[in-house]
């Protein structure tokens, strides 16, 4: 009884979603079958092309290449953004001095720097990591500063009243308070880093999933283009999920 109720509730809540998903897939399939194959291929053809790419090993190889780029750039962004953000939050003069410039960089479309990076650093792995880093670091930094500066001064006072050392103040107050904000930055940074990753693969040197798309496009392999977009799209959705989960996990003490 309870089970069937839960099932009915589930159907009511998730029914429209599955319905719309099936409808969307059907629409794609029908439209694809009736369109010029150079412009649109049906879902089935996209999936079979994807299976081919997977079977040949190309997909995995390019995925690994992209993942290495993404992870290196993003790890660097975290390693710089978090400590710097906390430091700026604690050292007021430094923060006041740097804040406007960080704001400017946060608002500047980093993609505009790609031509400079290209002409200065060429086509290697390092310039691409730099691009991913630049895309991701400012959201992390900006949100960490915003978080750390919003610490209620009362809590700092409590720490002082209990004779907290500076080190303990960082580990018991500053970092736990700031983490949820940093995680918001991480979530934003993931999205931006993904754009940076593909931009680096498009505009610096063609590697990874970016290359997969480019090559398919140049060969008028529309099925390959759709397959690659589907893969990157799913990665994007998955990473967003991860970002959201991280954000919620670290924010569980907030209401």
């Amino acid at each position: 009884m309870r089970f069937s109720l839960a099932a009915a509730e589930g159907a009511r809540r998730h029914g429209p979603f599955w319905l719309s998903l099936v409808a969307g897939m059907a629409l794609w399939e029908i439209a694809g079958r009736n369109a010029d194959a150079a412009f649109l291929v049906p879902l089935s053809a996209t999936l079979s092309r994807l299976a081919e790419l997977a079977a040949s090993g190309v997909l995995w190889q390019q995925f690994a290449s992209s993942a290495a780029l993404f992870l290196s750039g993003f790890a660097l962004a975290l390693a710089v953004g978090m400590p710097l953000g906390l430091l700026l939050a604690r050292v007021r003069t430094l923060r006041v001095g740097l804040e406007p410039y960080i704001m400017i960089l946060y608002a500047t479309p980093m993609v505009a720097l790609i031509p400079f990076i290209l002409s200065l650093m060429g086509f290697g792995f390092a310039p691409k990591v730099l691009v991913v880093f630049l895309f991701a670091v400012f959201p992390v930094l900006y949100n960490t500063i915003e978080g750390a500066r919003s610490i209620r001064p009362e809590l700092i006072e409590v720490a002082r009243a209990f004779r907290s050392s500076e080190r303990a103040l960082w580990f018991d107050v500053m970092i736990p308070y700031t983490l949820p904000f940093t995680m918001t930055g991480v979530r934003q940074g993931i999205g931006r880093a993904l754009v940076g990753m593909v931009a680096a693969e498009f505009f610096l040197s063609a590697t990874g999933l970016g290359q997969l798309i480019m090559v398919a496009g140049q060969n008028f392999d529309t099925g390959g283009v759709f397959a690659a977009i589907l893969v990157i799209g799913l990665i994007g959705v998955g990473l967003m999920r991860v970002g959201l989960m991280l954000e919620q996990h670290f924010a569980r003490w907030r209401h």
Binding site: E154, E157, R160, S164, A168, Y177, W253
Partner: protein, 273 residues
């Protein structure tokens, strides 16, 4: 439990735990208080009452060493205070609980800062959580608790370091009237169990009289001590105390001291409930 529990020893108890001489504090052109002298004896509760904004909270922070004074000096247990010293704990009006820590983590915090070992923390924290009546809420986060429960937790955090001096900064001002009354008697019960020197800042006249062995009335701009009123109500103080004729007399005495200030009405004093 070395170093943190001096009040248990009994013998070499100093007669004066807190001694302040000629304290003065100003913020730029604004002088907050001046010429404050006070002594608080061992296991004595001294209430400080005054209109809101009169500087009593600032005074308490100066005594704790959280704020620097501009004149005079504070000695706690004979030690000159320039920053918060060991063996002194504070309970805050805003509770000051860390929202990312559970009740257990918050109560353990003061001990951790005092350098207590893991074993000591594991031994003492449950005791103090139970003492303030929060048993069963060890894993609750502050946002899951009412204001009254949050302040119980704040009290446990302060008591856990077994302070020789407790500084209370309007601890019950941010909770509703019923909870406030409950917490007042809880605090009195705990004090009977573990008597300690206490400086109790409040803007409620009734609370000042109920808690204190003496009540200091702060008045004026800059604030100074207008009067010190000894409270000769017997302890343990209970709900009965509130109905005693002597309680009403003392309340009126504090009230009239505060009112004698011509502009008292402007201070929006809380009339005795």
């Amino acid at each position: 439990m070395h170093a943190m529990a001096p009040q248990q020893t009994g013998e070499a108890r100093p007669a004066v735990r807190i001694r302040a001489r000629n304290l003065g504090k100003r913020y730029g052109a604004l002088e907050v208080f001046r010429g404050i002298d006070l002594d608080v004896g061992d296991r004595e509760i001294l209430s400080i009452v005054g209109p809101s904004g009169c500087g009593k909270t600032t005074l308490l922070r100066c005594i704790d060493g959280l704020l620097a004074t501009d004149a005079g000096e504070v000695l706690i247990n004979g030690e000159k205070v320039t920053q918060p010293i060991a063996g002194v704990a504070m309970v805050f009006q805003h509770f000051g609980l860390f929202p990312w820590k559970t009740v257990y983590g918050n109560v353990a915090y003061g001990l951790k800062m005092a350098g207590a070992s893991k074993a000591e923390i594991a031994e003492r924290v449950p005791y103090f959580i139970a003492l303030v009546g929060l048993k069963g809420f060890e894993n609750a986060y502050p946002y899951q608790m009412s204001g009254g429960m949050q302040q119980r937790c704040g009290l446990a955090r302060a008591l856990a370091i077994e302070p020789s001096v407790l500084l209370m900064d309007e601890p019950f001002a941010a909770v509703d009237a019923q909870t406030r009354e409950i917490l007042q008697f809880e605090l009195l019960r705990i004090w009977e169990q573990r008597p300690t020197t206490m400086l109790f800042v409040t803007h409620s006249i009734e609370e000042a009289v109920l808690m204190g062995d003496r009540v200091i009335v702060l008045k004026g701009r800059p604030a100074s001590i207008a009067e010190t009123i000894p409270v000769d109500l017997p302890r343990p103080r209970t709900r009965e105390t509130l109905r005693a004729a002597r309680f009403a007399e003392l309340r009126e005495q504090v009230w009239s001291t505060l009112l004698s200030e011509a502009r008292a009405a402007e201070f929006q004093l809380e009339p005795a409930r």
